[in-house]
């Protein structure tokens, strides 16, 4: 028997710089097409949901199907304002980074709905284990913009004392676990937190967050094993924004149809949802939250969205993907889609939108002025070098006391 020499399969995205974006193979079900199962459903009965996409908003902006109707107009307007604020915040902070006021920034452009909508599905006292691209959770929880900026600027009012990379916020009070910056680790910690809640007989749930690329990390799989084994009350969120820096999602996904389908091997119900559809995103997250809170265990959710901006301030996506791809993305822009919906419902108008946008930018500018009056990485007041030695341990051990003295602080 003879065989041809083997060759290695290395997946390639459909579109590189110079190519015309083509999403014709990307199957998008009609809004309302995927129905809402009961929260105690047998995961085996909804396996198809890992290959479809839950959508509520149709092309006209109407909310259709049985995932619709969860949120009133006031809540939706608040959600829209959160997204507008996040976009304005990103714009100003990216500019601040370009001006040298901070070392690093990563924006949410195009995926604002994911964190802003999921925030509303959780209750106070639940805990998010976010990545660096879920600042919408903080904005929706009412964390002050100025405090966020103090962290970005590592100034003397930074609650983290300048120790952590910009955008790696932490606020227990706002149900926001300290962002690591290492990838995938926190998915597992979310499962542990949820196990803790169950052990304590609490009713709180956890939400783990991970990107499409980081699902390849061993910790993703470890998290799935533990969540499945102990039926942990946790919502496992995969934000599939199509790109992991320059690697398209196919590098992490291999031959499997979807990231959500990874849940099947673990017996975890898995749902794909239109991550640019605020209503669908909120509805699916709420379903998972209720399921967890009722003791039915974890849910794996894949939010299908698109990273319209660069990975971070250190990245130039024009080198590896077509600049036309974002505009061709078939699920549109989350802010535009929620705006259209509210207008269709007669709960919003172009004028009010222009005004809300200006108000969001004004809030951000006001906070920025206050934060910059304290200091930026360039100038102003900074955490002291003495702060560098604090909180390595609760009580400073003798060797650190000696080193601090040696350093002259």
């Amino acid at each position: 028997m003879s065989f041809k020499p083997l060759s290695l399969h290395v997946p390639e995205p459909g579109c590189r710089p110079g190519d015309t974006p083509d999403f014709s193979n990307f199957e998008i079900p009609r809004a309302g097409e995927v129905s809402r199962p009961p929260v105690d459903v047998d995961p085996n009965d909804i396996r198809d949901m890992a290959f479809s996409i839950v959508r509520v908003l149709n092309k006209k902006g109407e909310a259709v199907g049985d995932w619709a109707g969860l949120l009133d107009a006031e809540t939706l307007r608040a959600g829209l304002r959160h997204m507008l604020t996040l976009r304005a915040y990103d714009e100003r902070m990216l500019t601040a980074q370009r001006q040298g006021k901070t070392s690093f920034y990563a924006q949410h452009l195009g995926e604002e709905a994911v964190s802003c909508a999921v925030a509303g599905a959780l209750e106070q006292g639940d805990m998010n284990f976010p990545t660096y691209r879920q600042a919408g959770l903080l904005i929706a929880a009412g964390y002050p913009l100025e405090t966020m900026m103090n962290q970005i600027y590592s100034n003397s009012a930074d609650p983290l004392k300048g120790r952590q990379l910009p955008i790696c916020y932490s606020s227990k009070e706002h149900d926001f676990f300290t962002v690591s910056g290492n990838l995938g680790t926190q998915f597992l910690q979310a499962v542990g937190w949820a196990m803790g809640s169950a052990i304590a007989g609490d009713t709180k749930i956890a939400a783990g967050w991970i990107g499409d690329g980081s699902t390849a990390e061993s910790d993703f799989h470890a998290a799935m094993v533990f969540a499945s084994t102990y039926r942990a009350p946790v919502m496992l969120n995969i934000v599939n924004n199509q790109w992991a820096i320059s690697s398209f999602q196919g590098i992490a996904r291999g031959g499997v149809g979807t990231f959500a389908a990874r849940g099947h091997g673990f017996g975890i119900p898995a749902i794909r949802v239109d991550g640019n559809d605020f209503l669908a995103t909120h509805a699916v997250a709420s379903w998972a939250a209720e399921r967890a809170r009722r003791g039915h265990g974890p849910t794996l959710i894949e939010y299908v969205t698109y990273r319209a901006g660069a990975h971070s301030s250190s990245d130039d996506p024009s080198v590896y993907r077509s600049p036309e791809e974002a505009a061709a993305w078939p699920l549109g822009d989350p802010i535009e889609r929620l705006k259209s919906h509210l207008i269709v419902e007669d709960e919003w108008s172009e004028e009010r939108h222009v005004q809300a946008k200006a108000e969001a930018m004004n809030d951000v500018r006001t906070a920025q002025k206050a934060a910059e009056a304290v200091g930026t990485l360039l100038d102003g007041r900074h955490p002291t070098p003495r702060d560098m030695f604090e909180q390595v341990f609760e009580d400073m051990p003798p060797h650190l006391v000696r080193q601090r003295q040696e350093a002259g602080f």
Binding site: C168, S171, T178, M195, A223
Partner: protein, 336 residues
Amino acid sequence: MARMTMIEAIRAAHDEAMAADDRVVVYGEDVGFFGGVFRCTQGLQAKYGKERCFDAPINESGIVGTAIGMAAYGLRPVIEIQFADYVYPGFDQIASEAARIRYRSNGDFTVPIVIRMPAGGGIFGGQTHSQSPEAIFTHVCGLKTVIPSTPSDAKGLLLSAIEDPDPVIFLEPKRLYNGPFDGHHDRPVVSWKNIDAGEVPEGVSVPLGKAKITREGREITVLAYGTMVHVAQAACEETGIDCEIIDLRTLVPVDLPAIAESVKKTGRCVVVHEATRTSGYGAELLSLVQEACFYSLEAPIERVTGWDTPYPHAQEWDYFPGPARVGEALKRAMEG
């Protein structure tokens, strides 16, 4: 006062901590119903229920990562890694997460966990059941690293580790689980239960960060921990050199005043560990002694360690730094 094996002492520490504090939960591979491959958690599931003592999937990253989450929730997880040799898949969670969460969140979140693991050789465990990886942990800022040498210290230190507000690596010298071991592998094993050294006082309490002088002496200071404390004792007796043996017990934070006081008195120092030599914890000890006691030293500091090879199987006793090798180092240090 009762005599216990180190296994029973560790079990008793778990039992006491779990009885005193509902937040203490215990898990790891085979830890629940079975009570662990070394039986350190035997009976805990029956006494405290499945939610407080349970089996974990074979995934060290998962065990450590979930413990971090539980600790952030407010529990006090005490987790077992079946052998120290298996800890590496969990290392990212230990070094990048557990050790730094307090620091990076400025105390907003903390990780009071204990990561127990049997370490060291002497049981013909070969390269995957014999390693002494302490230096890998002592090099990570934000971790405390502890290693007992007696049942009494094992219980007292483990209780302190569980009460500590920060992550503690708790290395258990597995060759000492059932009885002391001085490196004379050809002699019969003596159970802790048959000797006074196995006494565990009622209410024993041993703080982290405090060394113990296990033998007072005038001629030379021996710095050791875990199994090597017993080997050093044998070497001291066999050479007749009047050694002051310091059992460090906690490697980070190390008890530098105890070390410095002794070396200033004796003027000589031998450092002993089972782990490989290059970048081992002994290198740190040499530096500390040199920095603190240079003008008191009468001779170069000697170190006796495992060789820089993987831990072999058939050649275990050629690898293990037994009393003969320690004795030679003591003589060299006396002559130097």
